[in-house]
């Protein structure tokens, strides 16, 4: 018996207004999977996940979420979206708790104040991302990596069936990447399904169960991390996947210094 289907795309295309960014995408994500979505800038990774979330327009094909066609889908709380940091307005001060509380809003009618249970879930989500000691600090004062974890906590507070993350590690310093990876590891161990757009596979190496590679709006690889490193080795010479430093990389290092990572780092195995 296979695990339930969370996302199913059949020759789906997405874009904005009259511009198609991704087309002909077939992709099925099942419960328990941690899928990394890789691809160079402009390859349509963000458009694809934004399409799944209903933020960019579906321009063709079939999209089903939890076995419901996208147009009829209204259980938004089942998807926990972690956007890139810059979508947070910093013009007014807010604490970590105040931001994470937003994750509970879709679970209650507009007139209802938050319950004790909501508060408990918010505290738990903040603890899950390791920020319990900063729960009442201002978000704007935190480092980029810590802010990313606040956004993950906000998504977790919605108790979603799947996390959808857009570049959670981009622009995050090394110490915070480790903290972030630890958080994702803990979530994966609990069976949380994730779809992660990323440039830096290294940080997520231990978590990812499947890799999907987008190039110019099409999927050009879909398989396990092991198959991905073989794929890279085959394409290592003379392709646009080539990275000058990676001619004969050790296994494990291949994933770390993914060709899309502009500054590969030495990984201690």
């Amino acid at each position: 018996m296979t695990s339930p289907t969370l996302v199913r795309l059949r020759s789906a295309s997405f874009g904005y207004a009259d511009r198609t960014v991704v087309s002909g995408v077939d992709l099925t994500v099942r419960a328990g999977e941690v899928v990394a979505l890789l691809g160079p800038n402009g390859s349509g990774k963000s458009t694809l996940v934004r399409g799944i979330l209903g933020l960019s327009t579906r321009q063709g094909g079939d999209v089903e979420l939890f076995d419901t066609p996208l147009d009829e889908f209204d259980q938004y709380t089942r998807l926990g979206y972690v956007p890139q940091r810059h979508s947070l307005s910093a013009s007014v001060r807010a604490t970590v708790t105040e931001i994470v509380e937003v994750g509970r809003l879709p679970h209650r009618p507009w007139w209802k104040p938050q319950s004790r249970q909501d508060q408990a879930i918010v505290r738990e989500a903040i603890a899950d991302v390791g920020l319990a000691d900063r729960a009442h600090e201002e978000v704007a004062a935190l480092s980029g990596g810590q802010q990313r974890r606040v956004l993950i906590a906000r998504a977790l507070a919605g108790r979603p069936d799947m996390l959808v993350m857009d570049e959670p590690t981009a622009g995050v310093d090394h110490a915070n990447q480790e903290a972030l990876a630890l958080v994702l590891q803990r979530l994966a161990d609990r069976g949380t399904s994730m779809l992660v757009v990323t440039h830096e596979l290294e940080a997520l190496e231990r978590v990812v169960t499947r890799i999907v590679c987008l190039d110019a709006g099409h999927i050009d690889f879909d398989g396990t991390p092991t198959a991905y490193s073989d794929h890279l080795r085959r394409h290592a010479v003379g392709s646009d996947h080539h990275h000058p430093d990676d001619d004969s990389p050790r296994r494990g290092h291949v994933i770390g210094a993914a060709p899309l990572d502009p500054t590969p780092r030495e990984v201690t195995p």
């Binding site: 938004y76 307005s89 007014v92 001060r93 105040e98 809003l105 879709p106 390791g130 600090e137 201002e138």
Partner: protein, 338 residues
């Protein structure tokens, strides 16, 4: 004070000031958050056209101003939501068209009615009538109730519109409700500070509280307090000094902002001198970082090489040597092998 309150018009003026001083910052905080601080100004411009239509046709100016401001508010939101680059220009056309129409229409009517343009533009609180007060009271009650009930949702939408949309929160609907509440607030404050200064009462108290508040909640309530003190204080000062109420209120609010700016700058300098930063390290302390956590007053310190490190904003503070520092060695060793 008690003889001031004995005056009927003064009682009404103070009540109107209280309502405006409470409602304006409450709605204004979301405008600040959405970086739309000047939108209230634009609504005020359009409301003037509404006032003029009222004066010209013999309708109640408050009612016609309300209709004009609400229509403008809805138009502003729809133009913004369309996301077109020409939207900004469209707003400019609407705002300047509104104020120009208002001025022209009021001048046409001045032969028959003693409509006081300055009174509408800069506030004439002492001319507030008993019916005005009742209308303002009802409108203010609507604004207060709606804003307090919906504040978390307004916060969510203003803070991160994209997330709100992905979470299924009807973003446009909340933005429209907020716009209408802003329009109502403009009309409520019209008599108190005047249509040209209306934005000041919505924005300045928030700008002030943002200087020192540590959370959205505290920032909001400080802004309301500053708003009420400026508007009620402004009315009292304007009565004593025989100055126009609107300008006096706004000057008080500006005074609060300047005072708070200076005070927070001084406090920040003193604090910076008083607290030690731990050395920069490429490590994030947390529940399972490997360093021992110790309770320290209201927070947690992490023992790092015998030093107590406490999380503060984006860095760690040095909270001194720990007397049991040495028994932390094996924990630290544990941390480093990770």
């Amino acid at each position: 004070m008690s003889d001031l309150l004995a005056l009927d018009f003064m009682r009404q003026a103070l009540l109107a000031a209280l309502l405006a001083g409470f409602a304006a910052p409450l709605v204004g905080v979301f405008l600040v958050q959405r970086r739309m601080s000047l939108i209230g100004d634009g609504m005020g411009h359009v409301a003037l056209a509404g006032v003029a239509v009222g004066v010209l046709t013999g309708q109640e100016p408050v009612l016609t101003a309300l209709i004009a401001a609400v229509l403008a508010a809805v138009a502003i939101e729809l133009i913004r939501a369309s996301g077109r680059t020409t939207g900004d220009t469209a707003l400019a056309v609407m705002f300047y068209g509104g104020i120009a129409l208002g001025v022209v229409l009021i001048s046409r009517s001045s032969s028959r009615t003693p409509a006081n343009l300055t009174g509408y533009l800069f506030g004439a609180i002492l001319t507030t009538s008993r019916t005005d007060i009742i209308v303002f009271g009802v409108l203010a009650a609507v604004v207060l109730t709606a804003t307090l009930v919906l504040r978390q949702r307004f916060f969510a939408v203003a803070n991160d519109e994209e997330y709100a949309r992905a979470a299924g929160i009807p973003v446009l609907r909340y933005n429209l409700v907020l716009a209408v509440l802003t329009a109502v607030t403009v009309v409520v404050s019209m008599r108190v500070v005047g249509l040209l200064l209306i934005s000041a009462l919505m924005i300045l108290p928030n700008a002030t509280s943002q200087l020192f508040a540590r959370s959205f909640r505290s920032g909001l309530w400080w802004a309301v307090l500053i708003g009420v003190l400026s508007s009620v204080g402004g009315v009292l000062v304007s009565y004593a000094a025989e100055t126009p109420s609107g300008g006096t209120i706004v000057l008080l609010a500006v005074g609060a902002f300047v005072t708070a700016s200076v005070a927070t700058a001084v406090v920040a300098r003193l604090r910076r001198a008083a607290h030690d930063r731990a050395e920069r390290h490429d490590h994030e302390h947390g529940p399972d970082c490997g360093h021992r956590a110790v309770e320290h007053d209201d927070h947690v310190d992490y023992l790092h090489d015998g030093h107590r490190h406490a999380a503060h904003e984006g860095h760690y503070d040095e909270h001194g040597h720990d007397e049991h520092g040495h028994d932390d060695e094996q924990h630290r060793a544990g941390a480093e092998t990770r």
